[in-house]
Symmetry: C2
């Protein structure tokens, strides 16, 4: 699926043929010509129309064969079978990229899929890339390449600038474009990929982040068919300090159902998507509105080093609500030291209190120099990387342009990221003219600042690379067959991968069971081990607290007979030390068909499924990442120790998780999943130990 | 604090004096006169200004004494001591309501508070009501009473209509007003109460809901000093089908800190506020933006009977995101039956699938009759009370006014509440002109619909009234003294109030302990009972699993000696049956200084505090309400039964909670709190039982 560098022609082709070119600039085959003439496409346009000598004032050709040279791009603006034939003709003629606009292919079912596959085969056979079908197309305002029939450039005049939009959905690309332009963002790229038979959003993202004029990339995705390409795009974007924000729709079961009826997108477990995007420094937004919301903050180049915020307002109520919002969004309010408090009190009105949020009060109306005096005190004495300036009401009598200049100067001097919140459009306009991002809603401003700070932190931490030492050895070729590895072997493999497992012996005779009892010291747990009996508890093949050697021998016999009666293979019977009581967590790993190896850490026991208190990590990751993930569990406060309980040994859990990650990476061809439940976790310094383990084999092993 | 009916003069006074009247219409003492002349105040205006014979063309008077008659309202637009003297003069002159605008009183500290108290005393002494000080004042567009110096009526021209805004904060009142007017809501009342020395937001709310022209009440509160008045206002509003939406700021610890430095507002535990507002059918919004967001939906009179939603869009991506949002907001997507699906398929384009969300696809552009055919199919066959119509892009070529007419007709015919989402302002405008509430953001439209449906459900259920049978008997006069009631008596009192407690005997001799063991059957739990030793476990005064009569007798002695060594009173020693294992919940009740009796139901054991998984209820409430509250616990899925565990007896828990509520209501003068932890809950039908109970006495008992 990798066709290196050959999407350059999609963004800046030297020549473009339009198959189905129309003289009517409001038809699908006419609009691209109109746009390209209007927005300065500098290459050659070849209208293809057997019925006309000229189209929109340009010389027309009867077919591709009649062209003087092979066009780099072809827009296919004809429908059905004709579109298929056109794609085949493009491939034959040596076109580099075909943009297929017609719908009625993969998205409508099996018959359409057959036609789509024919187009794809023709393209692949000739090394031609294909965008679509069922797509709105490509628009690059820098090169004037508007291979798009979207009406969006009628709705709002384009302005070339640092924002790029890439969307599977055409309507969504247009909506994001309109939202961005309404917010004053200048947009260079606006691409919609439709059915993605060949070129995906990720492919275009990888190409677009190489455009040095791009500073912010906004994506709308319903599926991520090639995560490795998106990861690569994200890596290049990170290197160039280009932020990527993405809506991945189909977050919920209903949404995935709707997505599959929209573009037939493949559903993936949503929290895996979260983990993947976070790992690669892509911020996940909830909807197109949230996608553009923080745009100006990113483009200012602000990359806050902390989440500490200072709030300044002329309304006490705004201060109260901002404090609520800061706590809700998890932004710590920067401290005002006593020394700064003293200086601040000197510049604030008599009845104002120098606390953060800082309420300059309604006195601002009669004291326009307030901010000029206050902001230097903040710059010198308040350790904040974020600032919310909330002016809910600042109408007649307020010198808003002056405030705007002063806040802009503060941002320039300190590097502090400032978001302005103002109910009145004219107040926002004044701040925007001074270069400060402005919001109607305080909560939205605060949320955008939180996003900026957290995204900056994500972008500072490149994804972990596995060190040689951390790599697990490949799995030996496993004998036998079937779906599972017996418990004894599962434990042995995990122990070999460096995970701490409960002390145990695999016994194949009564005598060995007695000897194990003696060696381990009672009471013991006894469990049958067989690749054919993965769910031993349900089968009655587990005995806990077996108290003497005779009982252990009797239990051995009972379990061997039990396995025999099930016609299950007999690995032996595990005699294990009874673990002392700790906090039970669950650890798991599996190989996702799209995203590859994944590690899960969760609240253990039988409640894992009901309460779903778990986190996911994509290996390789390091112990710090695993520790941070543990902190996101709902039960995190319990792990930290409550009511005199000791804190749990989370370093041990993190270490085990890292090794489990290395194991699933090394074993991914042979292993489908690994379950460790429970992992018994002891007080800090006392470790954690796997009590039960089950390895499931990949189906083709 | 109750002054019935005397706030009518605040909203529609026959005459108004302005103390400190200014000829300059942009000063605090001039602006109200300008506004009242402009917006048609029909009563008499008396400017008070000793220096002028005329103010803004009206005859001026040197002082209140010189007026021909006592004015019903006086605006005090002078500052400091002068304001205090003016309030005293108003009280002496027989003014009914004084609006005190000056700041520098209670909000600035002790010295200001002294002045404020003097004003209040003067007002109270004369039976005069006082609004403020430090307030922006009153504005009633129906009567033209604009006793407000806010610039908001310069910012956006007023329009009398069904919306009322009451806010402690003046800036917030103005911001809400601007937001509401920008959304096209017509506002009659806009009041700001400032320091609330006398009149509170609740007082004005009670008055305003009696205005038959008011259909929606929006509140901004930082404290609820008189919840009973707000409850009464809410009751009257409910009776008239007037919805109340409130921002109660100071939700978080930081917010409460900020609030206390803003207006000195009293902090109350935020979840109690949630419970109080919900009980009285007041919807709690997060910020002023959310306050106005659903305004048009309420004013359409829609009161959805269910939360089932149907989504219609011309964008597949919108359908996917709407499905995500519906699930996120907990709105079930209405089912499309096979019969309806068939009819729908007939009217949709060939490549569209008849599922909900319904994607009419981009074919809408060339098929303007789509909705005319589709909507009757929905009306006849889709059981939904909510509809989202999402048209992210519908520019040139789309017959938007026609769609708007058709959706409006659908709403009129079915009563279905419709919210429209459109990125483009002109599309929203077309729908608004057809009378349909429109939103830029799909998520906001969806959230507004969810709010409407849930609020309607709240408004259908009037707060429960305690039946005579449910009332607990008053507490007998308790002997002794101290902070706590001994456990034996605590259990006895709860048992008398109808709560199920563990079988036990209070023993005062070894012989009684032996007899109790024999009667209850071992093993037993043994605990010392003393009002002076509430925390028995920490004191080593609990023994579990005592297995024979001799051991019980020995434990009796040990615990009696233990209490003696603590010099604690000796009620006796409780010998209790060991409870069989169940799921542990915690139940509690306390008397909140503001909101009165409260019942808490939470996940029990030592994790209650760390995980804070609890719900609050304000008694009286019924078993159904308690059951619903149990469903909001995070552990609710566990209580419903997981992995083959039986569901828990939640009916028993609900019954116990109802009785605990009745008890705390009956005992509130004597009791500060009641703790039941654990309440052991068994499988459905097997009940629940209190194992430990502790009653804390009110400090003045």
């Amino acid at each position: 699926m990798t066709h290196a560098n050959d999407l350059h022609a999609a963004l800046d082709p030297a020549s473009i043929a339009i198959v189905g070119a129309s003289d009517n600039p409001h038809k699908v085959g006419g609009r691209p010509i109109l746009y390209m003439k209007r927005y300065g496409y500098r290459g050659t346009i070849y209208p293809i129309n057997p019925a006309r000598a000229e189209v929109q004032g340009l010389k027309a050709y009867p077919d591709l064969a009649a062209l003087p040279a092979a066009p780099e791009m072809a827009i296919v603006a004809v429908a059905g079978d004709e579109a298929v034939r056109a794609v085949e003709a493009c491939a034959a003629r040596g076109v580099k990229v075909a943009v297929v606009m017609a719908s009625g292919f993969g998205e409508v079912g099996a018959a359409g899929k057959v036609l789509q596959d024919r187009m794809l085969a023709a393209a692949r056979g000739a090394g031609m890339r294909m965008i679509g079908p069922n797509c709105q197309g490509i628009a690059n305002l820098a090169s004037g390449t508007i291979a798009s029939f979207s009406t969006m450039f009628h709705e709002i005049e384009p302005q070339d600038g640092p924002v790029a939009i890439i969307s599977q959905s055409g309507a969504c690309a247009a909506a994001i474009y309109v939202l961005a332009r309404q917010r004053g963002l200048a947009v260079r790229h606006a691409h919609a990929t439709g059915n993605e038979a060949d070129v995906t959003v990720s492919d275009l993202a990888r190409e677009v982040v190489r455009d040095p004029g791009v500073g912010l990339l906004l994506l709308y995705l319903e599926a991520i068919p090639n995560p490795a390409v998106l990861a690569q795009a994200a890596g290049e974007a990170r290197a160039r300090d280009v932020a990527i924000v993405a809506v991945k729709a189909g977050r919920t079961a209903s949404g995935q159902k709707a997505a599959s009826s929209h573009t037939g997108a493949l559903a993936s477990e949503d929290r895996v998507v979260d983990a993947f995007l976070a790992k690669h420094g892509i911020w996940r937004a909830d909807d197109p509105h949230a996608l553009v919301s923080a745009g100006h903050l990113y483009l200012k180049g602000w990359r806050p080093k902390s989440e500490r915020i200072v709030v300044v307002s002329n309304s006490g109520a705004s201060c109260v609500m901002a404090a609520d919002a800061a706590e809700a969004f998890g932004l710590p309010l920067a401290e005002i030291t006593p020394a700064t408090k003293e200086k601040m009190t000197a510049v604030l009105p008599g009845f104002a209190t120098a606390v953060n949020p800082i309420d300059v009060t309604g006195a601002l109306l009669t004291d326009s120099g307030m901010f000029e005096r206050l902001l230097p005190v903040i710059a010198a004495g308040v350790d904040a990387d974020l600032m919310l300036a909330a002016l809910p009401i600042a109408g007649a009598g307020y010198d808003v342009p002056r405030y705007a200049r002063e806040f802009a100067a503060h941002a320039a001097a300190t590097g502090c990221a400032i978001a302005v919140a103002a109910t009145q459009a004219e107040v926002r306009r004044a701040f925007e003219e001074a270069g400060l991002p402005s919001f109607e809603r305080e909560r939205e401003a605060m949320q955008a600042l939180a996003q900026l700070a957290r995204h900056a932190a994500l972008l500072r931490n490149a994804p972990a690379q596995a060190s040689a030492a951390e790599r697990a050895r490949p799995l030996p070729k496993l004998e036998g067959g079937g779906k599972f590895v017996g418990e004894a072997q599962s434990l042995a493999l995990l122990a070999a991968a460096g995970l701490s497992v409960i002390a145990h012996r695999l016994c194949t005779s009564e005598a060995e069971a007695r000897a194990a009892f003696a060696a381990l010291g009672g009471p013991v747990a006894i469990k049958a081990s067989s690749p054919d009996a993965p769910h031993k508890t349900e089968l009655g093949l587990v005995a806990l607290g077996v108290a003497d050697a005779d009982a252990a021998a009797r239990e051995f016999v009972r379990q061997r007979v039990g396995l025999e009666s099930l016609e299950a293979r007999f690995d032996g019977v595990i005699v294990a030390r009874m673990a002392k009581k700790g906090r039970e967590l669950a650890l798991g790993a599996r190989v996702d068909p799209q995203f590859g190896p994944i590690v899960m850490i969760g609240d253990g026991g039988i409640y894992l499924e009901a309460l779903k208190d778990f986190v996911l990590l994509l290996p390789p990751f390091d112990a710090a990442e695993a520790r941070a993930a543990l902190g996101r569990l709902r039960i995190a406060p319990l792990l930290a120790g409550v009511r005199g309980e000791a804190p749990r040994d989370l370093d041990a859990v993190a270490q085990i998780a890292v090794r489990l990650g290395a194991a699933i990476v090394a074993w991914q061809d042979q292993v489908a999943s690994i379950d460790i439940n429970p992992l018994m976790v002891y007080a800090a310094g006392e470790g954690a130990v796997a009590l039960d383990a089950l390895i499931e084999l990949a189906s083709d092993t």
